[in-house]
Point group: C2
Chain length 433, copies 2
């Protein structure tokens, strides 16, 4: 615990990079812990735009919302860290009671471990000598707990040989999949073959339970059937004595269907202790696109979510300048594919603000951007915003944009600034993609 | 020059990050200059996949190809640095005679300056107090030369006021644009208004010439007409005594139409010295998508390119493992939207390799991937590769994938490895997005 605290504080004492984007004046290389002392305010134009900012209030709200939801069902949370790859945010999730952090690749696990995360689900197959070596090195720390996914005999044999040579025992989760889906064993025969392969390496492999990713499916009934198949399989494995790890685990849930997973799995028990772990990642920042759509569905159908009388809030915004008004009805913003996700809908203008200039013609506070201001296209470093020909816009005006798909926005930023409700910068979080 | 060499060598002595992806064992944190000594070989599985690798031979070929092309026309080159944001590659471009580096944002200019680049075109509007402050700080170095783009009276006034207060003089390029295009003044009236605004700040603004980005247009004749408009405008500005900077500049050319720019502008002269500067960025790594298509057109029509008897070569590949073969005809690769561009075509399987295992069933060298192995979809961390049901594929096999749109691939990687023809790692380059 002492060590973990040290690693957390390492994050606070890393300097902001003098080569970064979306920052204030970093020529003095302030450390993260000193960011609040810089007195940077977004609306006072202290920050280079484009910038990605997190609302402290909204992030905190989302952390508590998900904790309440998970606690209501008596489940555990291992948020998917691939979304943010921000250990500072991982530690906030852990401080809110998260069981551990989920990650997608061996290097991601290594980055999380480097900054003090000690319990991890690698929700992916671990393939290749160098990737296995990374996990093996981390497992030299007896305080490090890691579960990886398997879905093929070949991979089980590769892992069995490698970890036998390393003199280590690797915890596995058997991944169930669906026809036409992504990874995961499709049927009972494949499952039995996999179990036999695992059983051939009793000293180097230990089976802890079942993993699914229901997000490849698209409707309620099919997802529930898949989730029940996972429960039945887990119970059968337990009955057959196939669960050889010290812990039993059942895990699923992306960011879109975690409500169904909670409903289906709450109350599932084995004769032995069982951790039922949900893995949503995008709840932390939410969005106004794919995950807002998911939440609308959740609130319409899930009684716990409805009883909470609050929703997840979009907590990640991008700010950009109007850099050109080249012809009526068109504003070019200084923001592009290098700054924001564009694969699940373009960013959506949310707020409009005119900074104070020497003639004091600025606005006092940001106002809602009119609904007919719409991004129609993004290039690498530019966004095309269609507006009415009489729109009140000037070069140098600032726009806040909500986003869809936080994952692909986070990975464009090495540092994000955390702001209070006055857009004063109170913290920064680094990413490690 | 001493300072520049020091800054270059700083790059060589930065340690590889212990939290990075696509690297070998970095627990000892080798510096970039020591990467070759690690003895890492991609085919021996020393590297964590997915990885982004640059072929040293092909990068060198592309550098020389573009130098020959530009030299043949008697033009100058300021490669767009936004593509790679890799100062190590900028210095190779400068060492091959590049006039300077083009960049898209003030923080990009700052990053390039930080690592020794001293002549820059900021091929974008400079908007906002913090962005102007960045450029102003860099201009305190009398050895730093920078040109920024303007296309509006409002922006000119903002720049004029800011740099007057700073007691500095900023070099401008007037951007011409086309109706329905991106930034840039559309007509003569807007151009005249802009010139009048610039002339109002004789002590803080200096006009150096004309900038265009012809890449928003899509056909030969329209592009040539636009390029001629740029020449006529430049000649008129010179005749009117509007070019108040110490240098005269005419600049254009993205990565797709640089041949037309060269053809149209070669031989353009003023009574005073004129630098005609082309700004392609993607030639360095090329691709097998949008820029391969452009090059096919160039080779069909440009006499210099034809006479060179060689083409740009795709120099950037991603390698990934087959991590699951869940059903016949489908392979899941450990590679996704977090690793590769997907906006201009998905990555294309190029090579197939089976590593040696304990049973020595591996292949001796990579072979061409069959043409019917095709990526059909990418998720954040997975790619779906459709293959014939009898494809010879195993979990743990390695695929090399060619890419389309290098820009959006580079920005997924903080470090790329440079390999020789045997896939031995001989260098690494960092990116600073």
């Amino acid at each position: 615990m002492v060590e973990e605290n040290n690693l957390q504080s390492n994050l606070a004492f890393r300097p902001l990079t003098p080569t970064g984007k979306g920052l204030g004046d970093v020529t003095a290389q302030p450390v993260v812990a000193a960011v609040a002392e810089q007195g940077w305010n977004l609306l006072r134009e202290d920050i280079s735009l484009p910038v990605a900012v997190l609302s402290e209030r909204r992030v905190q709200h989302n952390l508590q919302w998900m904790k309440s939801f998970i606690d209501s069902y008596g489940l555990k949370l291992a948020p998917h860290g691939k979304t943010t790859m921000s250990p500072a945010l991982f530690h906030r999730q852990l401080a809110q009671g998260a069981w551990g952090i989920t990650l997608a690749t061996a290097p991601q696990v290594q980055a999380a471990y480097h900054f003090g995360v000690r319990r991890v689900i690698l929700a992916n197959q671990l393939v290749g000598r160098a990737n296995m070596s990374i996990i093996s090195r981390l497992l030299q720390d007896p305080g490090f707990e890691c579960y990886v996914i398997v879905d093929s005999v070949a991979n089980v044999q590769q892992l069995g040989e490698f970890f036998a040579q390393a003199g280590q025992r690797l915890n596995l989760l058997l991944e169930l999949g669906v026809s036409g889906g992504r990874t995961g064993v499709r049927d009972a025969a494949a499952c039995d073959a996999l179990l036999a392969a695992i059983a051939a390496y009793p000293h180097s492999l230990a089976l802890a339970g079942i993993e699914v990713y229901e997000g490849v499916l698209g409707d309620d009934a099919t997802i529930r059937a898949f989730l029940r198949r996972a429960v039945h399989t887990l119970i059968a494995l337990d009955a057959q004595g196939q669960l050889t790890a010290s812990k039993a685990i059942l895990t699923g849930a992306g960011s879109a269907w975690f409500d169904l997973v909670a409903e289906e799995w709450a109350g599932v028990t084995l004769a032995r202790p069982l951790d039922i772990i949900l893995r949503p990642g995008c709840y932390l920042t939410h969005d106004v696109g794919i995950y807002k759509a998911a939440e609308t569905r959740i609130h319409a159908s899930n009684p716990i979510a409805r009883a909470m009388h609050s929703s997840l809030l979009p907590a990640l915004q991008l700010w950009a300048y109007v850099q050109s008004l080249p012809e009526p009805g068109l504003a070019i913003l200084g923001l592009g594919k290098r700054d924001a996700a564009f694969d699940a809908g373009l960013p959506v203008p949310a707020l409009h603000f005119r900074p104070q200039d020497h003639a004091h013609t600025g606005t006092a506070a940001p106002v809602a951007a009119p609904a007919d201001w719409t991004l129609t296209r993004m290039m690498d470093q530019h966004a095309f915003m269609q507006v009415p020909v009489d729109a009140d816009l000037q070069v140098g005006d600032m726009l806040a944009l909500d986003i869809s798909h936080p994952c692909l926005t986070f990975d464009k930023w090495r540092q994000l600034l955390v702001v209070d409700d006055n857009y004063t910068v109170i913290d920064a979080v680094e990413t490690f993609f």
